[in-house]
Structures are given as C-alpha cells and as structure tokens.
Symmetry: C2
Subunit: 205 residues, 2 copies
C-alpha cells in the first residue's frame, strides 16, 4: 500500500491512501467514458471496468452515476453524503444557516471559476442540467425537506434552489459587490432567514 | 406618416407609428455596429448615423448605449424607465412585490428562451455581463434603493439581484417544478417577502 506500482504523476502517486487511488482512477475513467458515449450511454459498469475497480466503488465514493458525473465532468465540489450530513446536523431550525454556509464554504474553496463553468455547462448541455437537477435538487433538497415535516415540499425545494443558485450567480458569475467579496458569515446572516422561511416558514405571503 | 416609403418587410412597414420606425432602425443599426466594433468601440453617434436618426433618440428610447445594447443584443424585455415606474409606483413597502411581479410578467411574456440566452451571454461575453450589471443592478436597483432610505444599499441591491436572478434561473433555465410553471401570484407571495426584507428589513440575522 505504501509502494507505488507506477510513478507517472497523472495516475498513481506513492503515498496516496488506497481510497484516493480508487477515486482518482474512477474520475479519470468517467471523464473518458462520458466524453465517448455521452451521459445516457455511459454505464457504471463500463466506467468501473476501465478504472479497474469494482462497480460498487462508484456508489461508495460518488453515490452513483449522477454523483460521478457531477464530480468528474462538472467539478461540483460536493459529495452528496457529506453535504447532507453537514446541512442537517443541527436540526431543522438551522437548515437555512447550514445550507448557506456549506454552499459558500465549498464553492469558495473550489474557486469561483468552477461555478462559472458549471453555469456555462447547464446552459449549453442538457445532460448537465438534468444531472444537476436530479442530484442537487431532487436528491439533496428532498432529503433535507424530509427532516422538516413541512407541506408543499417541492415548491419549497425549488424556492431554496432559486436563492442558492442566485447567490452563486451573484458571487461567482456576476461578481456583484459587495456580495462577491463579503465574508461568509455576513451572507449567512442576510440569506439564511430566506432559506429557513422557504424550508419551514410561511410561503403564502 | 401613414404611407410607407419602403415596403421591404425587414425595414419599415406601412402602418407603424414613427417612434416604432425609429426604434426598429436603431435596433438594427445597433446589432450591426456592436457586432462589428464590439461594445466599447461602438458609439451612440455611429449607431444613430447608421439608423439615419438623431443621436438623442438613443437616450429617448433606450436610456443610452447600455440600454440599447441590452435591448438590441441581449433581448432584455425591459425598458429602464418603464421598469422603474412600475416597481416604485406603490411606494417603498410594496417594492418587493412589484419587483417580483414585474420581472416575471416581462420575462414570461418574452418567453423563457430569452432568459436562457441572456445567461449564456453573461457567462461567455464579458461586455454582456458588464452591461447588465451596470444597467439592471447599478442603475435600476440603485434608483429603487434611493426610495427606501435604507442603510447598506449596495449589499441590499446585490442581495435583491441574487434572488431575482436565481428566480429566473429556476424558472427559465433549470425549469425546476413546480416553480417553473407556478402562476405569477404564487411566486409573488413566496418571494416578495424575501425581496422586501433585502430592501428595507433586517439583513443582520
């Protein structure tokens, strides 16, 4: 485990944990397979086979084909399970706060350019849009909503998505000051109440 | 005024009011000049000369070069003066409601594809992004904010922009249901309180 079989820098480096090797191999294989066959044509089995790992590793590391596409092709700096954990850990009353903080922390860490590329993808590639909708909205927000006991969960999820995406557009794409360089807690204070109302409050005006 | 000088359908049609002729000529000239010289190289004088109208007509109909670019190239279905009027007419306490309703009415009327094209433009053309920021955010929202007496006007404007753009992304680009096909008043009820808080309420959490 501590000895590299291959020293070429793009593949496997000496001191990586085995999981990182598996993830890196899956990401590289996924980029190739998605590029060659498109999203619908690509299978988890084909990607795993090219990576030389068991197909179960795709679910283990990426939660499935959608998550692998989001990470490998769209460079989304989120892992579904990690996001759900960090958002829901403090209970339903702090969901709004945790969603805003988690989103900004991850995308700030990834660099704004990654979000710009993502938006460019979803306006030009239908499969990118469909995947993101399924992954971030249907799956993440549905799971978040299930912790609230709220009514009208689909509309509430969509409202949350609208403010989250808009915050990303303003901060990373349009770079509207002072929002673009505001510290994260300033934006949490301003935007979390919006998210919390959409999740658990009155949305009938 | 009721007799056309030229029957070619792309230019001047018979029964148009004179103002529509002037606007149409300016839009056509603007598309040509912006395409040939880029946004920075284009002058109001050159566009007006090509359209065969007085340069003052650009300010009269489009509020200047930015407004002409937004209408001619980006197909923004807003006229600055009209938007300001319809948003501010009911006073500061109904700004949130009027902004949401005006935005949705205009873009629904223009067809969602126009908004998708706009977002594609701002992620690929820096001059489109800069123009939109100046026109919609600095000018419209600054004028709106000046009616409120609120503090921290720039952050408030940016927060409003984030929710408005996100609403457009969710409805027209990502088409997240049920937000995408919700009637306008459902969204006004849900989103106007957000806008109103960003404009005149507590944004410190």
């Amino acid at each position: 485990m501590t000895t590299a079989k291959d020293d070429s820098p793009a593949r496997r480096r000496g001191r990586r944990p085995a999981g990182d090797d598996t993830k890196a191999a899956l990401l590289e294989a996924a980029r190739g397979v998605f590029a060659e066959t498109g999203y619908d044509g690509a299978t988890v089995r084909a990607i795993a086979a090219r990576a030389g790992v068991d197909a179960a590793m795709v679910n283990h590391w990426f939660g499935g084909k959608e998550g692998l596409f989001a990470t490998a092709v769209l460079n989304v700096p989120f892992n579904l399970d990690e996001v759900l954990e960090s958002v829901t850990v403090d209970g339903p009353d702090r969901l709004g706060e945790n969603i805003v903080r988690t989103f900004l922390t991850r995308w700030d860490g990834a660099g704004g350019e990654a979000f710009v590329a993502l938006i460019r993808s979803i306006t030009t590639k239908p499969e990118a849009l469909g995947t993101l909708k399924n992954l971030l909205i249907s799956k993440v927000l549905t799971a978040v909503m299930s912790t609230t006991g709220s009514d009208r969960t689909e509309l509430r999820s969509a409202l949350c998505a609208s403010q989250i995406v808009g915050m990303g557009m303003a901060r990373y794409v349009a770079q509207i000051e002072p929002l673009a360089s505001a510290d994260i807690e300033t934006l949490v204070a301003a935007i979390a109440p919006t998210m919390q109302r959409y999740l658990t409050g009155d949305i009938d005006g």
